[in-house]
Structure formats: structure tokens, C-alpha cells
């Protein structure tokens, strides 16, 4: 059975020769909550733009609800809702006017349109602010309004490019809860995001893209299983920037534990991947004790999507961004 989104050997090469998408294939079934993940510059937004008929593909094929993205673009535009990475609302118009305009561009009008807008205003909790100009909205309210404008015409499938980036935790939770609700009503959701816990909780299936190619796809459970190892997070005392304790600890682990499949640096010390990690804990504690390495904490967890992402792309999706930002913050403060 063909999916509601069908992509085969899709290629996009920009005018300047940049190969943003290098022959990817995947499909999304109707009613699915589909996560499309990847580091910055992986080709996510390019793919979404092609699927939403905004950008022309170079080669390969792509269809939405059985309609070809180029030949039947007009038909696709009637059944999709698209939220771009940037929040896009007209700040001179009120929330209500923004929604009405989007409805009108979808050829809706009259009482039916007004009723639908009222209904959506309630759902995204903007009733009180409906007749205020969007320019006066907070970031979270704008994002909710933006989402609501994409829903006016009851789309069958929603394309969301980072719908919660830059929002405070409450607004984020509200949007995810609402997306879940929409999906339960039967709307297919195609989403790119950096929030892997939510992906894990909500997405039925996901694909990971890196450098324009799909490096993994499947259900979150399957992908985590593939890792085949638990992660043991070790908090090390006296972890310095130059990693003196870290190096020593690494050596101990590498020399004494052949079941360890991978060791990576973490914010607090090291993360060790190994099968049946919990059995290793006492041995690690003993070994570190003998070597005089002080442990401040030790946590064992089954693999997360973070680990999946790290394995396939060699990058951490979010944690690293935050760390480097902190770094910069620290340095600029010191200089002052």
C-alpha cells in the first residue's frame, strides 16, 4: 500500500552545486506520527520544502497523498498544513485576522470559516488575545498562532519544521500535547525536531538523515534495540577541562573491560556503552577504587534516542549545542 508520503531516490542539488539531498527514500503511512531527524544542514528542511511544493526537486520522485509534488502541486496544497522553522505570522494583523486570512487563501469563507477559527482559537488557548495584534504576542503565543493558521482548512497531513524550538518548557509541552491530540484525530504528522524525548514518546516511526542521506529508519524501539548496549553514565570528581581524570578512567576501562563497546565524553565525566550494563557497575566501582579514581555518580540506563542519534551521525543532537553555548557564556563573562 502506498504511503501518504512517498519519497524515492529524491535528490536536490542547489544552483551553487550544494548537494542538500542525495537520493533519499522513505515513506510515511496515513495517520502516522513520523519523526524526521538530523543535525543542522542534514537536508531536513530541503526535503520538507520539496514535499510541500515550495521547492523543485532535482531528480527522483516524491508524492503526497498520491499526488506528485510537481505535477499535482495544486492538489497537495489544499490538504497540507505547513509550519516553517521560523514563526511566521503577520504582526500587524490580529490573531483572528491571521487565521481568517489563511482560511481565505484556502478558499474558505463565511460562517464556516469564522466558526472554524473560533474553534481553533479555543484549542490553542488564544481566545482572550484573539483580537490583539500578533505583534504584541509572546514567542509561545506566536508559535501557537502559527500552528493554528496551518490548521484552519483541516489538513490531512501536517509538516512541521522544528515547531517547538526556542520555546519555554510549558509552551513546548502544550504544543506537543496538542500535536498528539491532532494525531489521534487521524492527522498524519511529519515533524523535524531536536527534542528526542518527545520523539521517543510520540513518533511511531522515524528516519535519521545526515549529510543528505538517510542513515537509519524504524520505530524508536527498534532503533534503540539496534544499539544493543546500555549506557553507563559515570560522574567523575575533579573532571577538568583538559581531562586528566577522564583519560585515566578511560584507560582503566579500556584495559579491564572487554565488554565495553564504546566510551564517549560527557558533561559530568564519561558515558560507557556495554551489554547488560548493570552487571558491570560493581566491577567498575572496584576497578576505579583500585586506581584511585573518585566517582561522584553512576547511572545505568537503557539506550535512548540520543544514543541512537549519536551512533548514526556521530553528533549529539542538542546537548552539545547547549554545552558549547555555556562555554561561550563562561568565557565572555571571564573576560569582563
Amino acid at each position: 500500500m502506498p504511503g501518504i508520503v512517498d519519497v524515492s531516490q529524491l535528490v536536490k542539488t542547489y544552483g551553487d552545486g550544494t548537494k542538500a539531498v542525495k537520493g533519499i527514500s522513505f515513506n510515511v503511512s496515513e495517520g502516522e506520527f513520523f519523526g524526521f531527524l538530523g543535525p543542522n544542514g542534514a537536508g531536513k528542511s530541503t526535503t520538507i520544502k520539496i514535499l510541500t511544493t515550495i521547492l523543485r526537486k532535482t531528480s527522483g520522485s516524491a508524492s503526497v497523498a498520491g499526488f506528485d509534488v510537481e505535477k499535482d502541486a495544486a492538489k497537495i496544497r489544499k490538504i497540507i498544513g505547513v509550519q516553517n522553522q521560523e514563526t511566521v505570522v503577520d504582526e500587524d494583523l490580529t490573531g483572528r485576522e491571521n487565521m481568517i486570512l489563511q482560511g481565505e487563501l484556502q478558499q474558505m469563507h463565511g460562517q464556516a470559516l469564522r466558526d472554524r477559527v473560533d474553534e481553533l482559537l479555543k484549542i490553542v488557548d488564544l481566545v482572550d488575545a484573539a483580537d490583539k495584534r500578533a505583534g504584541f504576542y509572546s514567542g509561545g503565543m506566536k508559535k501557537r498562532l502559527d500552528l493554528a493558521t496551518t490548521l484552519v482548512h483541516n489538513p490531512k497531513i501536517l509538516f512541521l519544521d522544528e515547531p517547538t524550538t526556542g520555546l519555554d518548557p510549558q509552551s513546548r509541552a502544550a504544543i506537543w500535547a496538542y500535536l498528539k491530540q491532532l494525531n489521534e484525530q487521524g492527522i498524519t504528522i511529519f515533524i523535524t525536531t531536536q527534542y528526542l524525548e518527545e520523539v521517543d514518546r510520540l513518533c511511531r516511526r522515524l528516519a535519521i538523515v545526515d549529510l543528505g542521506e538517510i542513515v537509519a529508519q524504524g520505530t524508536p524501539a527498534d532503533l534503540k534495540q539496534e544499539i544493543g548496549a546500555d549506557s553507563i553514565s559515570l560522574g567523575l570528581e575533579n573532571t577538568t577541562m583538559n581531562g586528566g581524570t577522564r583519560e585515566k578512567a578511560k584507560q582503566v576501562l579500556e584495559n579491564k573491560f572487554d565488554r565495553v563497546s564504546n566510551i564517549v565524553n560527557s558533561d559530568i565525566g564519561l558515558t560507557v556503552y556495554a551489554k547488560n550494563g548493570s552487571f558491570l557497575v560493581p566491577e567498575i566501582v572496584r576497578a576505579f577504587d583500585d586506581a584511585g579514581i573518585k566517582l561522584s555518580s553512576i547511572t545505568v540506563s537503557s539506550p535512548t534516542l540520543d544514543d541512537v542519534f549519536l551512533k548514526h551521525t556521530g553528533k549529539r543532537i542538542r546537548v552539545e549545542e547547549v554545552t558549547s553555548a555555556n562555554y561561550r557564556g563562561m568565557f565572555s563573562r571571564r573576560r569582563r
Binding site: T52, T53, I54, R56, A74, R77, K78, I80, V82, N84, E86, V88, D90, D92, L93, E97, L101, Q102, E104, L105, Q106, Q107, R133, T149
Partner: protein
């Protein structure tokens, strides 16, 4: 059908944006009004230089009306740049909206705005004693002509905006063009006081064509004759020439705009 409806919806959007940012109207009306109220007083005696019994205020009204259309038209391009930059254009393109209507709605709002501002200027001019010798029809024709000019002229800024996607560039070029084009035309002075080389420039300056036609509608004089008690009425050859030039500019600038817009949206 969807073309007209979409154009209308987007026209309404631009109108709302304009009314809610009155500063934009202020900016484009400020200069013409200063010219009309102060400049004409300052150059009051200049009228006598142009010919016996010529009122400079009457003479300059056509030029000031045009100047207003000129500066308003240059905001069109920056508005479209804003929509490209903010992602609003992309958002619209993911809907079934008629592509050409996106442009047409904006151009329509430009023309409407020029009409409103022209009416304001003409009312002020009336208070200063300027009334078209050709009567009420003259009023309507002045308004129609300047709207047509504004339409054609906004194509320049739209094309620039679509090509450079930079509001600063559009503003810069607008500022660069305004004074040479305006002063080397018959907008504020007659060719009789210009040096020969400038006369030549002015004769080929599209601004002069439009101004000459509107001045004829206001003074009822044939071009070149400036005294304020003419009885010629409409000088159709001047008027038709003006429409020819406006149509030519319109075809060129709006054609370029449409071409560049297609490139942006596909």
C-alpha cells in the same frame, strides 16, 4: 475567480497593515505636503519668472502630486522584501493561493493608497487656491493618471526588491533616483528656465510626460504656456503621450516584476 478573490483578500491585508502603520503614510505624505505648503510660498516669486501672472502654487501642484506617487511607489518593493525575509511569502506559497494574486493584491493596494494621498494633497491645494480649470472631470483625470503612474512606477521597486531581496538597496536606489529625476523634469520648474542640456534630459524624462499631462488638466493650458487664464482645456495629444509613456514603463517594470516573481516562487 480565485485570482480576483485572492487579490482582494491580500489587498485587504495590505490595507490593514497600512492603516495600522500610519507612519508609512506620514513618511510618503510628509515631503509633498512640505513642498506644497512651504516650498511654494518660498518660491512664490518664481511664478513671475515663468510667465506673467503665473501662480507657482498652481504650477507646482501637478509636480507635487506626482512626487507623492513617486515616493509611495518605492515602499512597494520593501514590503515585498519583508514578506520574503519573514517567510510569509513561503507560507502563502504552501497554500493554493493564486501566485499572480500575491503580486496583484500588493499593486492594487499601492494604487489605492496613491489615490487617497492624492486626494489629501488636492484638498490642501484647493485650500491654497488651486482648482483644475478643466473642472471636476479634470480632478478625476488627475487622480486616474497619477494612480496609473504609481502602478507603473511601483514596478521598479518591486523588481528591485525581488532581484536584490534587500530593503536597504531598494531604499538606496529610491533615494538616489528621486532628486535627479524630479529636478531634471518639469515637475517643479518649467524647461524655459533650464540650461539647454537639462532641457534635453527633461524632454526625455518620463516624469515630465506625466507631469505635463496633469499640469494641462489643472491649468487648462497647452504645454509650454503657463499663464493661469487659458481656455484650451484638455490637450489630448499631451495626455495621450503621457499615457503612452506610462504604459511603456508599466509594461517594462511590471513585466520584469512578474518574471522575477515567477523565478522566486518556483
Amino acid at each position: 475567480m480565485s485570482f480576483l478573490l485572492d487579490s482582494l483578500h491580500l489587498f485587504v491585508r495590505w490595507m490593514k497593515k497600512l492603516v495600522r502603520n500610519p507612519i508609512l503614510i506620514f513618511f510618503s505624505l510628509f515631503q509633498p505636503v512640505i513642498f506644497l505648503v512651504l516650498f511654494t510660498q518660498l518660491f512664490n516669486k518664481f511664478g513671475a519668472l515663468l510667465g506673467p501672472g503665473v501662480s507657482y502654487t498652481v504650477f507646482a501642484t501637478a509636480g507635487i502630486v506626482l512626487q507623492n506617487a513617486f515616493s509611495s511607489a518605492f515602499q512597494s518593493g520593501t514590503a515585498v522584501v519583508d514578506d520574503i525575509r519573514s517567510g510569509f511569502l513561503t507560507k502563502m506559497l504552501a497554500t493554493p493561493v493564486n501566485r499572480t494574486a500575491i503580486l496583484f493584491g500588493r499593486i492594487l493596494s499601492d494604487a489605492f493608497r496613491v489615490v487617497v494621498q492624492t486626494v489629501i494633497i488636492l484638498v490642501l491645494a484647493y485650500a491654497l487656491g488651486v482648482f483644475p480649470e478643466t473642472g471636476f472631470l479634470g480632478y478625476l483625470l488627475v487622480i486616474f493618471t497619477v494612480a496609473a503612474f504609481g502602478l507603473a512606477w511601483s514596478g521598479i521597486s518591486l523588481a528591485l526588491g525581488l532581484k536584490t531581496k534587500s530593503a536597504e538597496t531598494v531604499f538606496g536606489i529610491a533615494g538616489f533616483l528621486t532628486f535627479p529625476l524630479l529636478f531634471m523634469s518639469t515637475a517643479l520648474v518649467s524647461t524655459s528656465v533650464m540650461p539647454d542640456w537639462m532641457k534635453t534630459v527633461s524632454n526625455y524624462n518620463p516624469i515630465s510626460f506625466a507631469v505635463n499631462a496633469m499640469r494641462n488638466m489643472i491649468t487648462g493650458c497647452p504645454p509650454g504656456q503657463l499663464s493661469s487664464n487659458c481656455t484650451t482645456g484638455f490637450d489630448w495629444s499631451t495626455i495621450l503621450q503621457a499615457y503612452g509613456v506610462i504604459a511603456l514603463i508599466g509594461v517594462l517594470t511590471l513585466g520584469a516584476t512578474l518574471y522575477l516573481f515567477r523565478k522566486v516562487v518556483s
